[in-house]
Amino acid sequence: MPKHDTPLLDELEKGPWPSFVTDLKRQAEKKPECFDILGQLELSFRDKITHWKHGGIVGVFGYGGGIVGRYSDVPDRFPGVAHFHTVRLNQPSSKFYSSAKLRDICNLWEKYGSGMTNMHGSTGDLVLLGTTTPNLEPLFYELTHDLNQDLGGSGSNLRTPECCLGRARCEWGCYDTQDLCHTLTMHYQDEIHRPAFPYKFKFKFSGCPNDCVAAIARSDFAVIGTWRDDIRIDQAAVKGYIKGDFIPNAGAHSGKDWGKFDIKKEVLDLCPTECMWMEGDTLKIDNSECTRCMHCINVMPRALRPGLKQGATICVGAKAPILDGAQFATMTIPFLEVKKNEDGEYAEVVEVIEKIWDWWMEVGKNRERVGETIMRVGLPTFLKVMEVTPLPQHIKEPRSNPYVFWQEDEVEGGFERDIKEFRKRNAQ
């Protein structure tokens, strides 16, 4: 495959940020199909339009996910990318790798693909970009046999679950995000690889309310770590921050002079519930008023830590705008201890998930995310499905319209009445 002139793309070799164009050119020396990637992309830069077509049936046998079909609409000019299918590999929880594992993946992709990847896709998969239909089965064979690795989800499947790095390298992980993510990924292999649902379904696991994997914005089933006792305080460290021994916000503001640390201005006054105050140089917190937003802990990580009675809040139904508009996940279960049972399963979490699925598989319309189903039937119906007691925590404020859908059995005497009896007392 010949090199193509790429005067427009060459402009993207300039500047301080790493250049994917330079990277593609380097790769093309070993994998000449990358010249055709560059060539076709240059054409798109000139035409201001994509040159890819979607292919629907492409996959490995028996799997309904993990491969997304892609074809060039100018294959005669760029034969190296005539087929350019995507392969999604299920990443290990929180994306730690050994170089040995990565090199194995690189070698496999050198053999069967274009050499280009996404580290990682938006859902979390390690994405291999660009291979042909005949390469898919041999690639899958070696992937499973030699690399002990499997594909991720796509289509109407459970999508590849994703978690924050949690307890591996963060002091705020309120439950074991990696273990929950991995355990459920293994538990639901069938749902990840074969379609089961009206539409996609995503799990995301964050260890604390900072929510570094954006569970509340992006996942149908968001498990977000929290605690229900008191924030742990090291008063000596509080004094250290006030004195200036420790840099506030872990040094996140070190590039600008914001003046001396002011605990009142930077912590107490920014607390959304105003539940903190100083008594002399002692910090006090009314924990019953705290909504666990993390701000004070973020600013003074050496002095404050989440409480010890840890677990997670479960929120359901987030999605990007398509179709009804963007939704955040709705708080459904305020607190769940995220515990493994003796069989190595998170039975309580599984029970919640399957309650949602059993209902949504029945009631959800085609191409309707569960958040849209909840919107359509109403939160009260969903809470009944979930067998969750309605709580003031489920709402921001009570409804302001009076149109309650009363059920017949809730009203004395029921709905059946006799109009003739009525007319005897109330004339037409």
């Binding site: 028996g62 379609p195 539409y199």
Partner: protein, 77 residues
């Protein structure tokens, strides 16, 4: 009385082969046995793919089923 798994698979395949729609959502097969649960239906449909009698067709975001050879696809135009 619910259908047996084999009867359910036969009903699904019949609909995929001879129904008016070439591509079907899993929900379209629920009517093959109104007494079967959604999971039974999707497991039966997925079995038919494993047996090579049906294909998955995916838009990338959503997945449908089609009897072998009936789905519309770029590569098979």
């Amino acid at each position: 009385m619910a259908l047996s798994k084999d009867e359910l698979k036969a009903a699904i395949l019949e609909k995929a082969l001879n129904g008016p729609k070439a591509q079907l959502y899993v929900k379209d097969f629920y009517a093959c046995d109104p007494e079967a649960g959604p999971r039974d239906v999707k497991n039966a449909a997925n079995d038919l793919v494993k047996e090579g009698k049906m294909d998955f067709w995916s838009s990338g975001s959503t997945t449908m089923y089609a009897a072998k050879g009936r789905a519309k696809d770029e590569e098979h135009r």
